[in-house]
Point group: C2
Chain length 161, copies 2
Amino acid sequence: MNNETSIDELDARLIALLDAEPRIGVLECSRRLGVARGTVQARLDKLVARGVVRSFGPQVDPAALGYPVMAFVTLELRQAVGHDAVAKRLALIPEVLEAHTVTGTGDLLCRIVARTNAELQGVIDRVLSSEGVLRAETVIALAEQIQHRTLPLVSEAAGNL
Amino acid sequence: MNNETSIDELDARLIALLDAEPRIGVLECSRRLGVARGTVQARLDKLVARGVVRSFGPQVDPAALGYPVMAFVTLELRQAVGHDAVAKRLALIPEVLEAHTVTGTGDLLCRIVARTNAELQGVIDRVLSSEGVLRAETVIALAEQIQHRTLPLVSEAAGNL
DNA sequence: GGCGATCTGTGCAATATGCGCAGCCGTGAT
DNA sequence: ATCACGGCTGCGCATATTGCACAGATCGCC
């Protein structure tokens, strides 16, 4: 990725406005930002087409959904199986929210949620019983100190033109 | 959290529909789901009010934004300072996307992005120079095997009534 | 049975949307 | 200097949606 895929100040202001007021509509956006309606629509389409904005879908909070326990689980995989095969199997477990291959002492870092600590054990057992998973090292997330956010990064990216 | 905060099948279908077609509008939602318009609006309001849906804002992909390097950094903190104070300082660094206090050998697990590996070093240096941060252990995320998703969890939660 | 919560269908005025169009401007290539 | 292109602008139009309100029906609980 290089600067061609980055954003300018208007993109950043648009993203920030939609973050603050997601249901605002294109016309009101254009009023607020001081640009033409077509410009807003074109900018949005471009941000989506380039993958900068992945989705405007609902961001669901697992804790409020009934899954307050969160853990980061680092898996060691059997070399012969491969990351992709294991990931496909893990993706069938709803409580596995995301997974990244990583450097370091483990191979795959997963974010896993559960309703209770006891249930987390069950989920991890399911993970461990997936073919290709050798061991799991678990840390429980106790509190969210910085909630996931990308707006500061958006401003940063727009400021470096 | 108990079952009172959970969702039913209609909530789940609504969330899934909005995930698939975020700009669909309330009226079209009601058509698709086979319920009254007011019902959709009321359900949405409730999902938001209860925190199940945190936001409908744009979900930004750091990699497409120009930050393809991602790392999970576990920090050891000086006991006297406290998590909150450190988190406040880390929140001032745009590249720090989220942070959770965790069990295990570290105190705070952060998700950090950067444009390059070299720049990541710079970000980590900034993190390390924050008062209260003693050391940092970094693993680089090599590939996203399961992209962050909550829809399967939503279906799971709705199915357990 | 009574009550409250929820869902339903309807109506209305105001507003927005998707789409298209012509014109203008800045930029880069020739 | 000229031309082509991309992006932005303002405008128009037919259609659709929205926010809000309302009355009535249904359901679950006490």
